[in-house]
């Protein structure tokens, strides 16, 4: 008896559900999907690095300004509370409940306004 030697499987006998999983795996994996590296010339590389440095300087400046403003606000709160010590009843009342949450109506700004930018009818 000779066993027939099979070099290639002619048709993969995978059923539909197996094929689905194979598709999922290929959608997930990086193989055959990666682009070529960006090959920059020396001049372009310098341009790119200049852009990145400029951004770094810019964002650092913004962060510094923000931090300075926050520091001033902190000092304001401290000074106001020191001043409030003259009035013991008010000082006692000026304490917050950390557990009271922020309201959900405070929304993160979106790129475009909603159909109704402001809700006017509010009743207690």
């Amino acid at each position: 008896m000779f066993k027939q030697f099979v070099r290639f499987k002619s048709i993969s006998n995978t059923n539909a559900s197996t094929q689905k999983v194979v598709n999922q795996l290929s959608a997930l994996s990086a193989s055959r999907k990666q682009p070529k590296l960006i090959k920059l010339s020396a001049q372009d590389l310098i341009k790119h690095q200049t852009i990145q440095n400029a951004w770094k300087l810019y964002s650092d400046k913004l962060a510094r300004e923000n931090r300075k403003m926050l520091k001033e606000q902190y000092e304001s709160i401290y000074n106001a509370m020191e001043e409030l010590k003259q009035f013991p009843e008010l000082f006692e009342a000026a304490k917050d409940d950390v557990k009271a949450p922020f309201p959900l109506e405070m929304r993160i700004p979106t790129d475009f306004p909603p159909n109704q930018p402001w809700i006017y009818n509010y009743e207690k």
Binding site: R32, K33, P35, I77, M81, A94, P109, P113, P117
Partner: protein
């Protein structure tokens, strides 16, 4: 010459206090980006698209389906790498129907009917449909166009602050005794002058700032208006941005509270 100060009473008198409300409307839309920021984001975005993985078309549009057919109509395959040809702009490097040297541009089938020139064919029936074309609202509102400074719908990308006119423009200030908490005084005062139909959020019962005069102290309470409207009787009021506030308020006063305000 020596000046001798004489105090009338030995017991120092407590200064009178007042509670000032910084009532702000937070921005509803994102701020206007400076040109540099916008250009940088565009640059990084293009780099990101260039370095993206190839879109797994076979996963979303399986061969032989209707979606596949529509996808193929919209997206022509890239130039095939023929080894017998010379290419003036470099040899194509095709993998998975993408030229790996460039970013992949994909046109997806639209969910709405489209005319030849790309404009949408408006169908009355599907106006509420989720598949309709989405047209974002304008970032500039009617209040901006009519320059209505008392509207809450103006300058959506900036923080607005409430100022009222009582012998000159100022932030709403209320006289306080030494018993009632400062934020309660501010709340009652706000409801007294502007009606009760204001949904507002008091950030804290602590003052965020104070200004000390000769015999009076002004404490600042920070809060945000969330909905409703400020409807006073016989009182002029404006909603203004930080920059505009400097025009309305006393210069020294503005300098003292400048760091509390957002753009």
């Amino acid at each position: 010459m020596v000046v001798i100060k004489r105090f009338n009473s030995t017991v120092s008198k407590l200064p009178t206090i007042s509670s000032t409300l910084i009532l702000s409307r937070n921005p509803i839309i994102t701020r206007e980006l400076p040109a540099f920021e916008q250009q940088y984001y565009n640059y990084q975005n293009e780099l990101w698209k260039r370095l993206m993985w190839t879109f797994p078309k076979w996963y979303y549009y399986r061969d032989g389906t209707l979606g596949d057919q529509r996808f193929k109509e919209l997206n022509k395959p890239p130039v095939f790498n023929n080894p017998k040809l010379e290419y003036t702009e470099g040899r194509p490097d095709i993998k998975q129907l993408r030229d790996r040297r460039f970013k992949q541009v994909i046109n997806l089938p639209k969910s709405y009917k489209q005319a030849e020139d790309g404009s949408e064919i408006v169908d009355e029936e599907i106006q509420d449909n989720l598949s309709r074309k989405i047209n974002p609202n304008s970032r500039i509102t009617k209040a901006d166009e009519s320059k209505d400074l008392s509207s809450l719908e103006r300058q959506l990308s900036k923080t607005l602050y409430l100022i009222i006119n009582e012998n000159g423009w100022k932030l709403p200030t209320f006289k306080s005794d030494t018993q009632t908490p400062l934020h309660k005084v501010a709340e009652e005062g706000l409801f007294n002058i502007g009606g009760e139909e204001i949904n507002y959020f008091n950030v804290s019962s602590k003052p965020c700032h104070h200004i000390k005069g000769s015999d009076q102290i002004e404490f600042f309470i920070k809060s945000h208006i969330l909905s409703g409207s400020f409807k006073p009787k016989n009182l002029k009021f404006l909603w203004v941005t930080k920059d505009e506030l400097s025009e309305y308020l006393n210069e020294d006063y503005y300098k003292q509270i400048k760091h509390l305000l957002n753009e």
